[in-house]
């Protein structure tokens, strides 16, 4: 009886695992299939490195399907946001794990986790009404810019970075701080020379999660970045791949090259994310050794 039960349980687990993997494969296959017709119209090089995006046939005689600016904007805003978020997040994580008292920590943690629960449209709304207005007053034309998007995005990334980084840091602090103390070594030196390096592997994992979130984030970025097909500058407008897809998918005629090109953009986004994940993964393995 127990054996049958075990077998059934085993089969259930296998099926559920399979469903997860199959849905991933299915999504990738589907996007690829829908993306491929694009390349009957434009070459891959032209698509990736072209800067002209005139996707609607009939409006212009000479349609263009280059997404270089979108790719650049996506990477630009993500890296900028990661830079801000990692600096602030790591600082916060070190404070929470190594300095804050147990009581303060239990009070602060839920607040940080709450940041992750706020819908992105609310972030976008706040960004639009606060940040963009500040930038407008500071003299940025219309106020929408890449920096504003990066700041909004970085706040969204914070909870991912802070909560998992401070968990690891706390664990390593409990393990190593007293060992450092026993040698007469100052707290800050132990934190910088032992606790941080020991936590690096998990901090990098948190960064993978965060950068995935950053590149895919649509709504908040779309609301503050200005959405113009320009090469991104820190105070200029830009448009990310996710924004292009969200803005245009509804109006693209099904089956048109425009429609397929949007799928192809999605595929490019997936590939970039995969590459970044592999890169950080390799870095992690190298550092750990």
């Amino acid at each position: 009886m127990r054996k049958i039960f075990n077998n059934i349980f085993y089969i259930f687990l296998c099926v559920f695992t399979l469903i997860t993997i199959i849905s991933l494969i299915f999504v990738i296959l589907f996007i690829t299939k829908e993306a491929l017709p694009t390349f009957k119209e434009v070459s891959l090089m032209e698509f990736l490195f072209g800067r002209k995006w005139m996707p609607v046939e009939g409006i212009s005689d000479n349609p263009g399907f280059g997404i270089f600016n979108f790719i650049a904007a996506t990477i630009y805003v993500s890296i900028l946001a990661m830079f801000i978020a990692v600096s602030i997040g790591l600082g916060a994580a070190i404070y929470l794990s190594c300095i804050a008292s147990e009581r303060l920590r239990t009070v602060m943690y839920p607040f940080i986790d709450l940041l992750a629960g706020i819908p992105s449209v609310v972030y976008g709304f706040v960004g639009l009404n606060v940040l963009v207005k500040i930038f407008l007053k500071a003299g940025v034309h219309t106020g929408n810019c890449v920096l504003a998007a990066a700041i909004v995005l970085s706040v969204m990334l914070l909870p991912y970075l802070v909560s998992s980084s401070s968990d690891t840091l706390l664990k390593n602090k409990e393990l190593y701080l007293s060992a450092g103390n026993a040698l007469g070594v100052e707290k800050w030196y132990t934190i910088a020379s032992v606790i941080l390096p020991a936590s690096l592997k998990n901090i990098l994992t948190a960064m993978i999660l965060a950068i995935g979130r950053a590149m895919g984030e649509t709504m908040a970025v779309m609301m503050v970045m200005g959405n113009a097909n320009l090469f991104p500058h820190i105070l200029g407008k830009g448009e990310s791949i996710a924004s292009v897809i969200a803005l245009e998918m509804g109006t693209a005629v099904s089956g048109s090259t425009h429609f397929h090109a949007l799928y192809a953009s999605g595929l490019v986004l997936v590939v970039i994310l995969l590459l970044i994940n592999i890169l950080i993964g390799m870095l992690r393995r190298k550092l750990v050794r």
């Binding site: 007293s178 026993a182 007469g184 070594v185 030196y189 390096p197 020991a198």
Partner: protein, 249 residues
């Protein structure tokens, strides 16, 4: 035969809870002193008080005096105390670096960046714990990859790199197997020629094998102290005898 470290009327409390009462003890130089007693009697607290690790615990309050080489520790900085008094924990905690970097860590912190001198320190300390011949080809390997007993010896060697006079060990063998325990005990017997060793143990047999002097604590009070041979043969206090016979523990 003088003493390296001694306490005078040492009391420790955590918040409202008093853990050690009025402990006056002398730890003789180049001898192994064991601190034994039932769990919760304040053995570890006493050890932590000796190198002021206790001050890292927020609500701990310490009164009384501790002297190292007849100098009151109040006159010494935390760093000086920690350098003079090394501490090895119950669970081996090597840093997640190579063996070499573990041992070079403290000397580098104290400003030694000379490579030949660092090499010499690493080799010398590993020899002291009898580990050098065992692992001399693996100094660049992560310290976490060695066995528990080897890790504990790496930690002892690391504590020695700060050039202490006193070595404190808090149940250093409690997470180790019999063979590693024997090796650590041998190491300690060898080390007492150069260092004053104070060890907390819950293992009476181990205290018997190692100690020159024994201190018996119960409920934060010093019940008895004395020369090890005498102590185990004919304890003066009834409570000590009961503890040694395993009536409570």
């Amino acid at each position: 035969m003088g003493e390296t470290i001694k306490t005078e009327g040492l009391s420790v409390s955590y918040g409202k809870k008093s853990v050690l009462h009025n402990i006056s003890l002398e730890f003789p130089k180049n001898r192994i002193t064991s601190i034994i007693g039932p769990s919760g009697c304040g053995k570890t607290t006493l050890l932590m008080a000796l190198d002021e690790m206790i001050k890292e615990i927020p609500d701990a309050r310490v009164t009384g005096n501790i002297y190292i080489d007849d100098v009151n520790t109040e006159a010494l900085s935390m760093e000086e105390i920690r350098r003079k008094v090394g501490l090895v924990f119950q669970k081996p905690v090597p840093f997640p670096f190579s063996v070499y970097d573990n041992l070079a860590y403290a000397p580098k912190y104290y400003g030694n960046h000379d490579k030949t001198s660092l090499n010499r320190i690493v080799i010398e300390k590993l020899q002291m714990v009898g580990l050098y011949d065992e692992i001399k080809d693996e100094l660049k390997k992560s310290a976490l990859k060695f066995s528990g007993g080897q890790q504990q010896r790496i930690c002892i060697a690391r504590a020695l790199t700060a050039e202490p006079e006193v070595l404190l060990l808090d149940e250093p063998c409690s997470s180790l197997d019999v063979k590693s325990t024997a090796i650590i005990e041998e190491t300690l017997l060898r080390l007492k020629e150069k260092y004053t060793i104070i060890i907390v143990t819950h293992n009476i047999a181990q205290a018997k094998r190692l100690s020159d002097k024994v201190v018996f604590l119960k409920d934060g009070l010093k019940i008895e102290e004395g020369d090890a041979k005498e102590f185990f043969r004919s304890p003066k206090e009834e409570e000590t005898g009961e503890f040694l016979r395993g009536i409570y523990g």
